[in-house]
Symmetry: D2
Subunit: 331 residues, 4 copies
């Protein structure tokens, strides 16, 4: 019973179908019919004109977006738990040619307007210190929690007042939208670019970078090629994205994963370290308890010496979630 | 009748089969069973121990290999027609952090030992000039011609004598092996790394970087992640590579493409600008003639004002190749 | 009465003399007689074979040394108060092509072996996290305190055990040696490279990077040119360095600055925020008190809302130091 | 008798005087009185508002200017003899984060409007090819020849029509102005930034980057710090620049060097490979003849197997120039 991560789950049958439908040769790179239709499809989803680029990985999606926003001599502001800080092997430094990441804290891996403002105020505006030029938020956060639209508005106001760009790492954006019960536009707020995650949600190897400011996309198109990310059979990535957002597959898959997580959270009770607002469960758990769970066939990651992380996915089976909930209760 | 490029052809049925077989969740990134089996499979193919990394694009494969070989203050030597110089959007400069490309000529887009040595001799060994640290060869070349094993040995000797690394861009390596009728090891000679192309030969979006010096692969693994190229469902890339090299699919596909090209070359006769030693045909052709061919339904690229390029693929239909051969004869 | 910084003090007469002595044309860059003599002079100073490169700024000296030690995909470990983190405008990211700075705390802006080890242990050895490849220490620290030889040995042992390089930012190395009363070799411990500061200590615009591992210097020589730091009349930089270390001028100047700082520290008494072990004094001081001091003609920097920083230099006049000491006592 | 280069000549007495006058402590970096006065002084010289940054080397001046003009994914167009291509150790790639240099030819190391336009036309406007974003001209050229104002206007028109920036490497700009007999503004034409050389013309280690578009200077100020080029005693660099341009010292020195070169050119006669329009003489000269000249005490560089280069400076002695002229005639 697999709760290690959503990042290696199976590909959804509708995605497979879309891949096969794209098999016939079309023009290469992003000039094919499917790639050219992405802007329209996502514009409809977000209710405004957007420019969309497919990318093969979330790391590349995040870093491409950031590189379109900050100069090499600038900095990106993010939470110290952010994926770009901890889990992307230095990719932000690579794509931005050495821009810094400036870190702040905040409960549940969410930045707050107050912590952002305070940290920004401490940076002198001279050539000796690196100027922050963008803020990156993660929705849902690395600890499985969601920014509410009001949270986003408060941080966006800080960004606006200081002429900073705003980026959202939405590796689990679908899970956040499913939890918040709002529109996609409300769940990302007034960001300049969103990494719209699909791989963790049923796709094979396609993510979307949604640019709400199309001038950023022009630079990003050049940089996508320069980063060796422009696939010649790009139609297969476009096909995956269309499959995800047509007929609401992205939301259906996220709801399934969230429901399994909620089921497990119910069993975890007071052990929970963070509210379960997406498809990740973090809970207190001794080494002995973890060993016991593993003996029962549950796969998951340790989270430091006294905790564990469980992640559900679109294809988590109900009976597995239920079994885990019961096992946690029985601990 | 499509002769624009091999880079947008359909995916081969055996590759589809392998993709589906890989659907069940496995561990992420390159820790899955298929990814871990790549070294062995390619070691068998080349008859020596190699370390293999999958990559999604040929540009990334080339540039990752080069970045493992040259320092940012160094240079890569290549033909002025090389893909890394002309068609990768500056990716070599990105992956290598600004290393230079030093260019030389040579008939049919092939470097010669003489031209390499002469150009290298002209570079002063002081800090004011950029030291060449690697040579990159393209097999088959950008103009569809193949280095013979003796050619490679002569250039490799220069590299060895000057402690330069050797890289091969094998986007159409299969076509070269099929044409040369030699072993894969003979067709690449003593290179340190080979970009083993699959996308143009029936795969969807997987290329292999074959490191003959495994110490280079250690750096490349870090850099693959840092470049946002490490897919979490990497098993789908590994699956494509296994499908290509097991049962000789790579050679069968290349032979089919080469045969179609040979058929067309027969029709082109004295118009040929370069020997046809792979799956590309370059021929003299006026604007009027090109218009006539297009009227007959042939798709291809102009190659300057007086020439045209035709490319065949694994799925080029015999009757299309034959039709083109006849149309060329009839011009 | 100027206590803002030592970084804008006058040039020492012996340095002026050396500059004039170097006026006659010699061969360019670092091929002149004076530049070629640097290795020997500094080898004598440190009692072992070193390779020395002149640089015009401390930022360039630090970053050139670091760039010779860490790969672009690596990281440098340093104190969160370090100059490379806070005051070099992102130069480490530029010179290293995007390597990260990994931060830790420690009293008086000094790292401790414990804090270093704990932070290093938290980094996973996989491609998703950035590997630390070097530790950078500042002697004297940004808060004017000195590592003892035992402190250095303990940190060096950690570095050795994990195959990390060791760098020392010695912008005020002379002040540290003067305070510690030990040899230069003891004051830097087993580091691989030392930024030996001169500009704050009576030079015009020359710093020395002392490489204890000469293989690092070979890369650094290329990178110095590539960074636009190789002056054609390099003899004028070499002349400054020779002037500083011949006849012990560097130590005499540092002792003078330290003595002035000690005088002031005596007046500051319980206000001191950190031990005064070099030429910087940090003390508690309200806004009203700072205003009063400025009215009396003292120039200095605020250090947050409730503190002030005073810096002495080789040319701080005794009567100014005494006047400040008395003014502080009288507050 | 030294004709190797002008880059290691002595420092002019007026520059020494200015250096000494700047000795008293002032505020650091570029906040001192002299640095702040640079914009006004150079604005007067060029008859329009400019922003000026001092730099220690010509390589840094060139590359800082270029980095303010081109994106990492862009390219700089220059002559294949340009200093940035051949003699800066890859610095352009470093400062621009990997931008390419696109090369063209042209007699006497001067680009022509025709060659520029033809090469630019050959670059496709797609993401696979690197877009040229700036043109860099060298005045006087690497072979000692000058662009006339009409030449500059023709190239500037191409730049304007394609929205390209224009940079001038003026390492020997003073020599060009002296030769052309025009104003400084006429000698550089409508460029966006000029590297105004002083080191080869009597300064110690200060060059000026003159930004005619002040928005470029804002980025350059950040990048100067990030490149470790911001000296804390910047007043000594500003002092050198003021000394050069006040009282016309820059032109007087250049005229002296040009006159010596003209004297030598008179002796060289039909041996000249290029017109002598600045302070460099390139002439046909066999190995035996070069040996003979060296026996007579003349120092100079070989220029390939059959030629030699002689360079004069502000302090070339008349009798030395005359002696060389006679020796050449006597060959």
């Amino acid at each position: 019973m697999h709760f290690l991560s959503d990042n290696a789950a199976a590909v959804h049958p509708q995605v497979w179908r879309a891949l096969h439908d794209a098999n016939a040769a079309d023009t290469p790179y992003d000039t094919d019919r499917l790639s050219r239709a992405l802007d329209d499809s996502f514009s409809a989803l977000f209710g405004r004109d957007v420019a969309v680029l497919w990318m093969a990985t979330g790391t590349a999606a995040n870093c491409l977006a950031l590189a379109s926003m900050v100069a090499p001599h600038g900095a990106v502001f993010c939470h110290h738990e952010a994926h770009i800080e901890n889990d992307e092997g230095g990719a932000p430094g690579f794509f931005t040619h050495g821009a810094k990441l400036v870190l702040a804290g905040g409960a549940d891996a969410r930045l707050t307007a107050e912590s952002v403002a305070a940290r920004l105020d401490a940076i002198r505006d001279d050539v000796h210190q690196v100027p922050v030029q963008a803020i990156s938020l993660t929705q849902a956060s690395e600890l499985g929690c969601c920014y509410r639209p009001d949270d986003l508005a408060a941080i966006a106001e800080i960004a606006r007042a200081r002429s900073l760009r705003l980026h959202m790492d939405g590796a689990r954006f679908a899970n956040a939208v499913a939890f918040l019960g709002c529109t996609p536009a409300e769940a990302c707020g007034p960001v300049d670019a969103l990494s719209f995650g699909c791989v963790k949600n049923g796709a094979m190897n396609a993510e979307a970078v949604v640019f709400f400011d199309p001038t950023l996309a022009d630079v990003a198109r050049r940089q996508r090629k320069r980063a060796g990310q422009l696939q010649s059979k790009g139609r297969f990535l476009a096909a995956q994205l269309h499959a995800m957002i047509s007929d609401g597959l992205w939301l259906a898959n996220a709801r399934a994963a969230n429901a399994a997580a909620a089921e497990i959270a119910g069993g975890a009770g007071a052990r929970l370290l963070h509210p379960v607002e997406a498809n990740e469960i973090f809970l207190r758990c001794t080494a002995d308890e973890r060993a016991a769970l593993r003996t029962q066939g549950f796969g998951f990651y340790d989270w430091g010496p006294d905790a564990a992380r469980f992640v559900t996915a679109w294809d988590t089976r109900d009976e597995h979630a239920l079994a885990l909930a019961r096992a946690l209760q029985a601990l």
